[in-house]
Amino acid sequence: MKRTVVGAHYGLSGWLAQRITALVMALATIVIVCGIWSASPPDYAAWKGLFGKWWMFLSLSLFLPSVMLHAWVGMRDILMDYIKPTGIRLALEIATLLALVFYTVWAMQILWRN
């Protein structure tokens, strides 16, 4: 039997997740940009203090995991469109996914170290 390695059930949830994370990031971007705008040019204490503010912390805590999910859906779309050999596509998808999982942990570590 010939099988193709494509998803069957997660198309809609991916589509929806991409849009919800987009909305979250759009709102968080405005807060983050305003924060950085008001703090510049900062010294180290002001910079660290900015990232310790609750609204900045909240925005980034929502923004960074959203980026990872959003990027996964987008990169998966790109890989599905342009990389036709299944083996190479699967390898690239796994590499993308692992990178994003690593970035998420790293981002949380940066945020919560403060």
């Binding site: 990232f51 990178a99 403060n114």
Partner: protein, 129 residues
């Protein structure tokens, strides 16, 4: 060969080069390209954030690094990619709820996406520089 036969001459060669893309098509492919670019840049942004927040010396190092003209130029490129992706993304969210789907509105909004993202890049770029 009759006129009709000349008119129906096959194969037809359409010009599919990106330069002849209609404006909404240009915004669409730039949305994809900027998204891919931002994904590739993600590791670099996290690296910069980590370094600048880690310690006093890290902050000074990050500041000197960001002051390098080539780094500034790349940051400006990424800034444009982010802003284009942001503006085009908002346009797609409206298209998703059936707002602005007719051709004149879609053309106008894609023109606005290009213009606004470039203007914001200039504004924030000047501020960062």
């Amino acid at each position: 060969m009759s006129d009709l036969a000349a008119k129906k001459k096959r194969p037809l060669w359409y010009n599919l080069s990106p330069l002849s893309l209609p404006l909404p098509g240009l915004v669409s492919i730039l949305h994809r390209a900027s998204g891919a670019l931002l994904f590739l840049g993600l590791v670099w942004f996290l690296f910069l954030l980590d370094m600048s927040l880690g310690s006093e010396t890290g902050f000074a190092r990050a500041r000197a690094y960001v002051g390098h003209p080539l780094v500034k130029l790349s940051l400006l490129g990424f800034l444009w990619a982010y802003l284009h992706h942001f503006c085009a993304g908002i346009r797609y969210l409206f298209l998703d709820i059936d707002k602005g789907v007719d051709l004149p509105a879609a053309r106008l909004s894609s023109y606005a996406v290009l213009a606004v993202s470039l203007a914001l890049t200039a504004l924030l770029g000047v501020k960062l520089w």
